[in-house]
Symmetry: C3
Subunit: 134 residues, 3 copies
Amino acid sequence: MIKLSLPTARQEEFLDITSRLQSVVRESRVRQGLAVVFCPHTTCALTINEHADPDVRADILMALRKMAPDTLPYAHAEGNSPAHVKASLLNQSLTLIIEGGEIQLGTWQGIFLCEFDGPRTRQLWIKVVAGDRD
Amino acid sequence: MIKLSLPTARQEEFLDITSRLQSVVRESRVRQGLAVVFCPHTTCALTINEHADPDVRADILMALRKMAPDTLPYAHAEGNSPAHVKASLLNQSLTLIIEGGEIQLGTWQGIFLCEFDGPRTRQLWIKVVAGDRD
Amino acid sequence: MIKLSLPTARQEEFLDITSRLQSVVRESRVRQGLAVVFCPHTTCALTINEHADPDVRADILMALRKMAPDTLPYAHAEGNSPAHVKASLLNQSLTLIIEGGEIQLGTWQGIFLCEFDGPRTRQLWIKVVAGDRD
């Protein structure tokens, strides 16, 4: 398992981690198989969405704020319940396909660490597993 | 990695892909292991839910439209931000268990390609990995 | 594939299944690899979130009820459409990393079976796959 440490800069942001993950896979020398990316936190998450226009990430963050508004009568005393809700709405683990030594992604896709309670230094865990069949 | 090409027929729909995925696994001749299904798009997604009553899919689509309504002040100029939001709320990759050469699913479960910005021809990528334990 | 049977006690609850999953992995004697946890139901789901303060689970359930309220004009005649919606918003399968014979989790993370249409006896399927590479 590889561990990455990633600082986030804002309370909420989508950090593009695609090239870092591609580097981890390249260094593993696995030509085909799976890469599991795991976020070991409860107020941030992972998602795959458009990397080209940053407005898309801003729009997703805005829509998530409408779904889990700060104004609901939350019980958790730390005040960051909206971040916990948003984390569960997205992903804690992603399973990605490796072919030719690269994570396979669509043309418009990037992989994002989604910070909902930052800024903080976050960890990412990656496990690369070789697969001998298509 | 196997690639499937699937036309969708409407702007929004849940397309049942269960039998196509079972065929891919059967042709791989892997008796036990994992099948990773990956959607390489940013305005459609994957989910697993009830396949028996099509009203369930219609109800999920309706609830998603309430969560990411067209009326929010989106910044992305293409006008399809609700589709991007819905894609991130569901899944880009699913990891399925193979036993006896078949994807294992519950009685009421089907696997769906969720179109949010169609109609279009969509791609699906499937990686079957043999597993030698349990 | 290992099958667990788990009774839930309420209409809606988050049941902490972390220690049961760790036991399954320990008994498999796989030292490193992946554990895929699959929920074969359409009105319950899986998530990973904070295990320390039960208020966090209560807050997530409350926010989900706001997102998929009972009052929407659902078509499905069984009356449990909100449970189907919530199931698709969370996860049917989770892929977890095994190192040193243990599922790797962050300090505050627990794994939960999320019941949305209980109480019922629910099944969980777990597939452990050994991985020989990092």
